[in-house]
Each structure stands twice: as C-alpha cells, then as structure tokens.
C-alpha cells in the first residue's frame, strides 16, 4: 500500500458546485445547492455551518463521490484515501469493533490501531459487537474507522449530533488530537456554531435552502491556543456577520 506519502505532498480539495437539484413528486426540480465554491489545503479544517435541511449532507455526498448528478466539479487529492464519518455510525453489526475497523483498513498495522483505539477510549471494547455499544461509543468506532485508513480527505457529517454536551466536548478534543496528528484535509459539517468554532480553521456559512455561501471566514488563532474567550468572541463575530448580511433568521437557527 502507498501509505508512505511525504507530508505536505497532497493536493487541495477544490469544490465547485454550480447547481444541484432534486426532482420532486410534482415533477418540478427542488434546488438544493447554488454556487458553492471553496478550497481546503492539507491540514486545514473547514467547517460548513448551516441551518438544518439546507443541503449540507447532499454537499458531503457529492464531495464523497456518492452523488454524481450535479452541475460543477470536485477536485479531490488524486487517488487520495477518503475517510468519512456519517451522521449515524454505520457499523457492520455482525462484526466486532476491531473487525469493523480492520475490514476497512486492512493495511493498518497493529501498533497504529492500538494507538487509535487508545486515543478514542475504545481499547476495552475491541471484541464487542456494535449492538452492545452506546451511541457515543459507536460514533467513536466510526471515527476510528475513518482515521485507520489514513485518509487524505476526512469528511464528517454532524459527527457529534444527539450526544450529551460533556461527551461531545470530549470527542471534539479527541478529534482535534487526531486531526493534528495526521494532518489531513478535514471538512466538518455541523449546524452548531460552537462546535465549528472550536474545531475549524475556517468557517463556511451557508444560507437556508437552496444553500449558497454567505461568508467564508478564516480563524486566525490556531485551534490549540483558542481560549473560551476567543471562542465566544468568534461566535459573536459570526452572529454580527450574519446580521450584517441580513440573515438574522439563520442566526437564530444556529444558536
């Protein structure tokens, strides 16, 4: 396997979706995405923030190559491995936690897997079947699986939704550790501005459907150095920006 890529060698993710529409029952077409364009470099964490139902998952599916029916183009790192965490864990219930990860990442060596399981607090659950896990644990297995393939591009679709706050905060920390360790291109989709501000290097704010980009805001302070005060002030900036754009309705949904 070609897992010995030199650091800094992979191409950016370049997303240009001019338009994406679904046919609906009445025979009309429902426009979901409108003129979405952005680029993410290696090691950069982009957070797509938008209200529920605005088309964020559709966009991730297009970027993942699961949906090819759209106008535009996606340039992914060539032959780049893709890691994805879906909204639901999507584990194979008939395989153990360890087998779920190994099946997807057969090239990962035992030492790397052990580290990964340790970081995510899964060391004691390797032999369990997913049915015996809580949702929080299952989500961590999904994270472990995505990282085990050593992705060049990591896509996360609301990975912490419906978890209680302390657990979500811990998993965010674990995710930040992993992202820093592996230096991947990460695209995180969320409707939670707080989560986005804690994790991302760049915020991409989307409007309600059909989604278009309202603002593309880089965060200057590195993730590790952000204090609670920084996070609060960035959140306030985001809110101000949305009000300035005449989107207070969107703001309300974010909070």
């Amino acid at each position: 396997m070609n897992d010995a890529h030199p650091v800094g060698a992979f191409a950016p993710l370049d997303v240009r979706v001019a338009r994406k529409a679904y046919p609906v029952a009445s025979g009309e077409r429902l426009e979901v995405l409108n003129d979405i364009a952005f680029t993410l470099r290696q090691g950069e964490v982009g957070a797509i923030v938008g209200p529920s139902g605005c088309g964020k998952t559709t966009m991730l599916r297009i970027i993942a190559g699961l949906d090819r029916n759209y106008d535009g183009s996606i340039a992914r790192p060539p032959d780049g491995r893709l890691g994805m965490v879906f909204q639901e864990p999507r584990l194979l219930p008939w395989r153990t936690v360890e087998d779920n990860v190994r099946l997807i990442a057969p090239q990962a060596d035992a030492g790397e897997l052990a580290t990964l399981f340790d970081v995510l607090g899964l060391a004691g659950h390797r032999a369990h079947y997913p049915g015996a896990l809580s949702l929080g644990l299952a989500r961590r297995v999904a994270l472990a699986r995505a990282f085990a393939v050593k992705p060049e591009l990591l896509l996360l679709d609301e990975p912490f939704v419906s978890l209680d706050q302390p657990l979500a905060a811990r998993l965010r920390d674990e995710l930040a550790t992993l992202v820093d360790r592996y230096a991947v291109i990460t695209l995180l989709v969320t409707h939670d501005v707080g989560e986005a501000v804690e994790l991302a290097d760049r915020l991409i704010l989307l409007s309600a459907r059909p989604a278009r980009i309202l603002a593309d805001m880089p965060i200057a302070t590195p993730r590790r150095l952000r204090t609670a005060a920084d996070v609060a002030s960035i959140k306030a900036q985001v809110a101000d920006r949305l009000v300035a754009l005449g989107q207070p309705a969107v703001t309300a949904q974010f909070n």
Binding site: G65, R81, L82, E88, R90, L92, P93, I104, Y129, R145
Partner: protein
C-alpha cells in the same frame, strides 16, 4: 421437556390403538415397523437407499439455493432484472411439481441429471422470491459506507451483503429442505431405480405398509438429525452478534 415426552408417548399410544383397531395390514404396530427398519438396516438396503436419496437432496438443494440466491439478489437490486424475471417467476411458482418432473424425464430421459434438475427447478422460485425480499431490504447506508471506503467487491459481498441476506437465506433453506426431500421422493418413484421414493413405490405395489412406514421414519430421523446438528448450529453461529434477550 416432560411435556414433549408426554406428547410423544401419546402419539405412540394412539398409533398402537389405531393399529389394534385397523389391523396389522392397514396400520402395523410401532414395534413391527421398528423390526422391519432394523432388518432393512442389517441387510444394508436401508443405507443404500437413504444414501442415494440424501445425495439427490443435497445436490438439488445446493443447486437451487445457489442459483436462487444469485437470481434473487440480482432481481432485488436491479429493476430491469426484476421486470424481466418476474413473469418467469410467476410461471415457475405456479407450475405443478409433477409437470416439471414429467417434462424433465421426457426431455432429459430417465437420468440422474434430469431427476436432480427437476427437483432444483421446483425449489428455485421459492428461494428467488425469499432472497429477493432480502435484497430489497439491504441497507443503503451500509452500501454508501462500503463505497466511500472503496471496499473491494468480494469483501462487500462477504461482510456487508451476505450477513444482511443471511436470515432470508436461512428461511429459504429451512422451507427448501423440507420441500426438496418431499419432491425427491416423487422423482425417485417416477423414474429412478433406487432411493427411498423408489422403495416406497415398490412397497405401494405390494401393499406393504410396514415397509412404507419403516423407510419414511428412517428418512425423517435423518432429516431431524440434519436440522439439529447442522442447521441449528449454523443459525446460532450466524446470529451470534445479536444481543441475547436477558
């Protein structure tokens, strides 16, 4: 367990009573049948015929299950295949077993291949219909997962698709085994020189009820053993990941 034993004892008692009432010729007593079974076993005849029948059951069953699973999967996944295959399926489902057997013998001669194919074709539509339901119920979320992580096809089949189809395949196998062995006996009766069906045919011509019952019971015992020692352990293994009810 006690209830089961009591029920079995009641069955044997009823059999005895029936035998007393109807006479040994119409319904021989259980011990007469057992003696006949033992004597057939000592001569080796019993095992010869049982073996021939079991081999046919096995081959026809494997053939029908393999082809049925493949066709059912295709029809459940590909709309075009479903549209094209559906009329054929309805014809096959409603074609009487006897017609298929007689036609197979006329077209293929009184051969082993014709016999096994006739049995397999009788079982096939049932397997197709059951597995098709399973294929329609496959989880699209797991499909996407396998595609995103670029799982090789064979791996997807083995670790993602087959485990989802397993309950449907097991259901088809369960009903299939009983259907296949019943049809195998008819096929043997009509055109094979050995096997349990052939023996029962001979016994029918001689009006030998003892022999009919001896062969039938021996065969039921074998099928019961297959169920307990092969089918049930397999099912337990296939469902070991499910949470046990506490």
């Amino acid at each position: 367990m006690l209830l089961r034993l009591a029920s079995l004892a009641l069955f044997i008692a009823t059999w005895y009573a029936g035998s007393l009432f109807a006479g040994e010729r119409m319904l021989p007593a259980p011990d007469t049948v057992l003696a006949a079974m033992l004597s057939e076993a000592r001569s080796g005849e019993l095992f010869l015929h049982l073996g021939a029948t079991l081999a046919r059951v096995f081959l026809a069953f494997m053939l029908a299950m393999t082809a049925g699973t493949a066709i059912g999967y295709l029809m459940g996944r590909v709309t075009l295949a479903d549209r094209l295959g559906d009329p054929w399926l309805i014809v096959l489902l409603n074609l009487p077993a006897l017609v298929i057997i007689v036609l197979a013998y006329i077209w293929g001669g009184l051969t082993e291949i014709a016999a096994i194919l006739a049995v397999a074709v009788n079982k096939l539509p049932n397997a197709v219909v059951t597995v098709r339901e399973g294929a329609r119920a496959l989880d699209p979320g797991l499909d996407d997962m396998a595609r995103v992580f670029a799982m090789p096809r064979l791996k997807v089949l083995r670790h993602v698709v087959i485990p989802q189809l397993a309950p449907y395949i097991a259901a088809a196998a369960r009903s299939g085994l009983s259907l296949v062995w019943k049809i195998v006996l008819v096929v043997e009766l009509l055109g094979r020189p050995n096997g349990v069906g052939f023996e029962i045919g001979v016994a029918f011509q001689l009006f030998d009820v003892t022999r009919i019952l001896a062969y039938a019971l021996a065969f039921i015992a074998v099928i019961l053993a297959i169920e307990i020692f092969l089918v049930q352990p397999f099912e337990r293994r296939a469902s070991r990941w499910r949470l046990r009810p506490a």
